[in-house]
């Protein structure tokens, strides 16, 4: 049985595939999946991970679908078991998924994950002829909801989202009027 009968996941699926650099693996479609599998595995283990923004964007739908399979079908479903086995190569993580993560979302609608954007980081790449080469990275936080860590957004930052600065005022009004049409 495939995932065709599952409801649509509650996160955005990009129209253009993000380019994922496959360091250490020969570039191919398989290598891309390996990168995504690493991220999903790490995310299930750590529940909140900080990584490059494009990787977080790309991995989120896969993680979301994996949790959804657990919630909708349960551990006895053949397709779910196959997916869990592939995406989570470490056995203990499959147990964690079914016994810890999935029960959290039994009564909750998708999305089961959250994605936040951090300020870009500028990191030194290498030094050549005493000249420093720096590169700017967009950073994102991908997390499974209802994790035991402190919330990424504090109450104050939630208030900041409603800040009355000019851009916020105009954009909020524009979106509101756009939705009403």
């Amino acid at each position: 049985m495939s995932s065709a009968t599952l409801p649509r996941i509650g996160v955005t699926i990009g129209h253009v595939a993000q380019k994922l650099k496959t360091g250490g693996i020969e570039p191919s479609r398989r290598a891309r999946l390996e990168v995504l599998r690493r991220i999903v595995t790490r995310c299930v283990r750590e529940e909140r991970v900080e990584l490059k923004w494009n990787r977080a964007v790309e991995a989120r739908p896969y993680l979301e679908r994996l949790i959804q399979l657990g919630v909708e079908r349960g551990p006895l479903d053949e397709y779910t078991a196959e997916m869990m086995e592939w995406w989570l190569p470490e056995r203990d993580l499959i147990v964690k998924m079914h016994e810890v993560i999935v029960p959290r979302f039994a009564e909750i609608q998708s999305p089961y994950t959250s994605l936040y954007r951090l300020p870009p980081k500028r990191l030194q790449q290498f030094i050549q002829n005493k000249r420093e080469f720096w590169k700017r990275y967009d950073i994102g936080i991908l997390e499974i909801d209802k994790n035991p860590f402190p919330p990424v957004l504090s109450e104050n930052s939630a208030k900041n989202e409603e800040s009355p600065n000019l851009l916020n005022l105009l954009l909020t009004d524009a979106l509101k009027n756009n939705l009403e049409k």
């Binding site: 000019l166 851009l167 105009l170």
Partner: protein
């Protein structure tokens, strides 16, 4: 002894006249004047000769005043010229970056209550000043109002430079929540500007804003408030406008800007509306498109009502 005054050009030229010769008739008789003379003429006709005389009294004496600039550590004392130096000069002692980013100033005088002033407004007394920029969490509504008012004034200046006719402007007080600003223009015989004309004006507006023209501000003394109908006089480039409130430091603080639409709002009056965002609040072209579309819809609705 003659004292060199470091004031904006318009006011410096005013000081070069002798008070007894400041008669309105003499100005009107002079037909071949340079551009600054026409500006002075406009000020004198509109805002009374007393205003000029008031500033001429200051010509002979330039006092020094110590102003403390608020910093994260200790306040930085700066020696300035009373009624001549502005907060911008004071902030430059700290850093040019701080001075350029300042939009408004919170002034806490040694005597009296605190108030908010423009960055290019001369300082009058000993005080502690603190810059307010677009990232400040305080005074947000004040900032928004000042920005909206400044955009309306810039629109008036742009229209005046781009249209080869004598125009009179009225800057109405518009709330930011309305989503657009507008100016009422007299002198176009009630003919609204076409889309092509607005496109051309918008192209010119980009270069006008890019030139980083300062908003030079003089507040009207309370004893002249009966004669002058506004609180401030603002000069942008070669143009002088009355203003009912505070304005930003420079056109360089204006980011995305667009004049959207023009409509007849009376027999002689034409209203020109636009929308803008500060330079320090960048947004994607998609979001800007939503804001422009919303502003245009609201402006057109306001025209039909």
């Amino acid at each position: 002894m003659q004292t060199t005054l470091r004031l904006p050009v318009v006011y410096r030229k005013i000081f070069e006249f002798q008070g007894d010769q400041c008669y309105r008739q003499q100005f009107e008789d002079s037909q071949q004047n340079p551009q600054w003379f026409q500006i002075i003429l406009r000020i004198l006709l509109n805002f009374s000769i007393i205003f000029v005389k008031k500033y001429m009294e200051m010509k002979e004496k330039v006092d020094k005043v110590v102003v403390n600039v608020h910093t994260d550590d200790e306040p930085l004392p700066v020696l300035l010229n009373r009624n001549i130096s502005t907060s911008y000069h004071a902030f430059n002692h700290l850093s040019k970056h701080v001075a350029d980013n300042a939009v408004l100033v919170d002034v806490q005088p040694n005597i009296g209550g605190s108030y908010t002033s423009c960055v290019n407004q001369p300082l009058q007394d000993q005080a502690t000043i603190r810059k307010i920029d677009f990232d400040s969490s305080e005074f947000v509504n004040l900032l928004n109002d000042a920005y909206w008012r400044s955009c309306a004034l810039v629109t008036a200046a742009i229209l005046k430079e781009s249209l080869d006719v004598n125009l009179e402007f009225t800057i109405p007080n518009i709330d930011v929540s309305s989503g657009f600003f507008h100016v009422d223009v007299e002198g176009l015989n009630g003919n609204a500007l076409s889309r092509d004309e607005l496109n051309t004006i918008n192209r010119y507006a980009k270069s006008f804003i890019k030139n980083a023209k300062d908003f030079e501000v003089v507040s009207i003394p309370s004893d002249l408030s009966d004669e002058v109908p506004s609180n401030y006089i603002v000069r942008i480039g070669d143009h002088v406008f009355p203003s009912s409130g505070l304005v930003i430091r420079s056109t360089s603080q204006i980011g995305r800007y667009s004049i959207l639409h023009s409509k007849s709002s009376g027999i002689e009056t034409v209203s020109v509306g636009g929308v803008s965002l500060p330079f320090s609040q960048p947004t994607s072209s998609y979001s800007w498109g939503l804001i422009v579309k919303n502003a245009l819809t609201k402006y057109q609705k306001s025209s039909s009502s």
